[in-house]
């Protein structure tokens, strides 16, 4: 039995953390993720969880506390956004390379500067290669579901890596949504016991974490890590299958939406998928064979599976909610383009950087993307491969939304 409750994305994740009941939760508040830590600290204060709550003086310390806790054998968790994740950057690598599973909720927000607190993916995209598993959520329900799965994926003995569960700031984190909650006992049974192979606190089996690693062994340790994140692929699928057994909600590496016969496919991550699904439905009514591939698991990147899923399209557009300055396109685009490279009949592939700093993406904007794909397929002319969506190059006059008197 589960119950349907109206929750914001942040409340849904705070509730998930309550049900996971990590041994240690160390965090420093930052917009737009603050509510998660705030509500979770209330659960701790009210005695609803036995978690050791560590209010740290910075995100760098929060991640360091989680690493210490995980090395001691605890199930550790934290939450952050944007600058907080950036401040953690060097320690993120430590968590992954010491092979310490932990869960982190990241509420996606733009990186400064200029200062902006709204949704985009520049924060987590900046951490894409640090060895963490990254799972993105379209809405509050997905974020809630992903958090439980993250526990099992990271702690799997063939994986043993930290996992971040990402959701868009404000658009998801502060919006109410009907969220189906599982029962506490179901949650406990699903995630089970954490079985760390070593603990810093085990005096009978002393262990050193993080010794000096020179050129004779560093490569081998990196190879272990490289294999571990690849091992996560089948584990992610298996954990999703178990989650579906419990909840009836199915997840894969990505969610295909009407792509079986689609000629024009858009690939995107996160909340914008909702808008794109609506656009696909409308375009289909008008006779355009549109489809969407929403990427859920970004690290490890399911390149082969994505290439397989979009290979029959005439043209595809990859939507990036972050630029990768100086690269050949946004982060998702360069990955998708690389995945398509081995395909002899690869579809035309273009890139849009969109939604930066919370800029809204309207249905009309998405129609524009599909119409451009249709035009590329018709004329064979690609034009500019990578561009910004809804960027002003000239000054633009606009009526004020409210008349000021």
């Amino acid at each position: 039995m589960s119950k349907l409750v109206a929750l914001t994305g942040n409340s849904a994740l705070a509730h998930a953390f309550k049900q996971v009941e990590p041994d240690v939760y160390a965090a420093y508040p930052i917009t737009p993720s603050t509510q998660i830590t705030e509500e979770f600290s209330e659960y701790v204060a009210d005695g609803l969880v036995k978690t050791e709550f560590v209010p740290t003086e910075s995100e760098h310390s929060a991640m360091s506390a989680c690493i210490g806790a995980a090395a001691a054998g605890a199930r550790a968790a934290t939450t952050t956004s944007s600058q907080g994740l950036a401040l953690m950057h060097e320690v993120l690598y430590i968590a992954a390379s010491y092979r310490l599973p932990m869960i982190m909720a990241v509420v996606n927000r733009a990186l400064s500067g200029p200062l902006n607190i709204h949704a985009d993916h520049s924060d987590t995209m900046g951490s894409r290669d640090c060895g963490w598993i990254q799972i993105y959520s379209e809405g509050a329900q997905e974020a809630y579901d992903n958090l439980f799965q993250a526990v099992l994926i990271g702690e799997h003995p063939e994986v043993r890596l930290p996992v971040m569960v990402c959701m868009d700031g404000f658009i998801v984190s502060h919006s109410l949504e009907g969220v189906e909650l599982i029962r506490d006992e179901t949650a406990k049974k699903f995630i089970g016991e954490n079985k760390p192979p070593f603990s810093l606190l085990d005096v009978d089996q002393p262990v050193t974490f993080g010794p000096n690693d020179l050129s004779d062994y560093y490569t081998e340790h990196r190879k272990q890590q490289s294999e571990a994140i690849k091992n996560a692929m089948p584990v992610i699928r298996e954990v999703a299958r178990r989650w579906e057994e419990v909840t009836g909600r199915a997840y894969g590496y990505f969610e295909p939406y009407r792509i079986e016969d689609a000629e024009y496919i858009v690939l995107a991550i996160g909340s914008v998928a909702g808008t794109i699904k609506d656009a696909v439905d409308e375009l289909r009514q008008g006779g355009l064979k549109a489809g969407l591939l929403k990427v859920r698991v970004y690290r490890p990147f399911p390149g082969e599976e994505i290439a397989q899923a979009i290979r029959n399209a005439k043209a595809v557009a990859v939507m990036d909610r972050a630029d990768a300055f100086g690269a050949l396109g946004g982060p998702l685009f360069t990955d998708v383009a690389a995945a398509l490279y081995d395909n002899p009949d690869q579809p035309h592939c273009i890139n849009y950087v969109y939604g930066l700093g919370g800029r809204d993406v309207s249905l009309e904007n998405v129609f524009g993307v599909y119409h451009r794909l249709e035009e590329i397929a018709r004329t064979g002319k690609l034009g500019q491969r990578c561009q910004y969506l809804t960027v002003r190059s000239e000054d633009h006059g606009q009526e004020p939304a409210l008349e000021i008197t």
Binding site: Y98, T208, Q224
Partner: protein, 120 residues
């Protein structure tokens, strides 16, 4: 020469951890040295100040007696020579190249006086 086994990634403990304690003895750091301490055993008064001050554990002491140096781990910092009392000065820091000519390229055994339990 003892053969060194370089382990492959499949058999290494995860994440570079060392799943055992008390193994720093296995890590010979003596090759870092540019000069080595040489003991004049006749002069030594066994005050053991060098033993206390050695930042490693390279001063070999048994039953309260200073026997010499563990050169497999001594990095040649010279603190033992520095703290040896002025009236004693039984430790000399010798350039490693010269020392190898004089004493041979051997490890700690050559620099420690023979010892059996109960000798002193």
């Amino acid at each position: 020469m003892k053969k060194i086994v370089l382990r492959g990634w499949k058999s290494l403990p995860l994440g570079g951890i060392i799943p055992e304690g008390g193994n720093s003895h296995d890590y010979a750091t003596g090759s870092w040295r540019s000069c080595r301490p040489v003991l004049d055993a006749d002069k030594c008064i066994h005050c053991l100040i060098c033993w206390i001050m050695c930042p490693d554990s390279s001063v070999v002491v048994r039953e309260g007696k200073m026997l010499g140096f563990d050169l497999a781990h001594c990095k040649g910092c010279g603190i033992c020579d520095e703290v040896c009392p002025d009236k004693v000065k039984c430790i000399a820091m010798v350039d490693e190249g010269e020392a190898k000519e004089a004493y041979g390229d051997k490890d700690m055994d050559d620099q420690v006086l023979p010892w059996e339990p109960g000798t002193y």
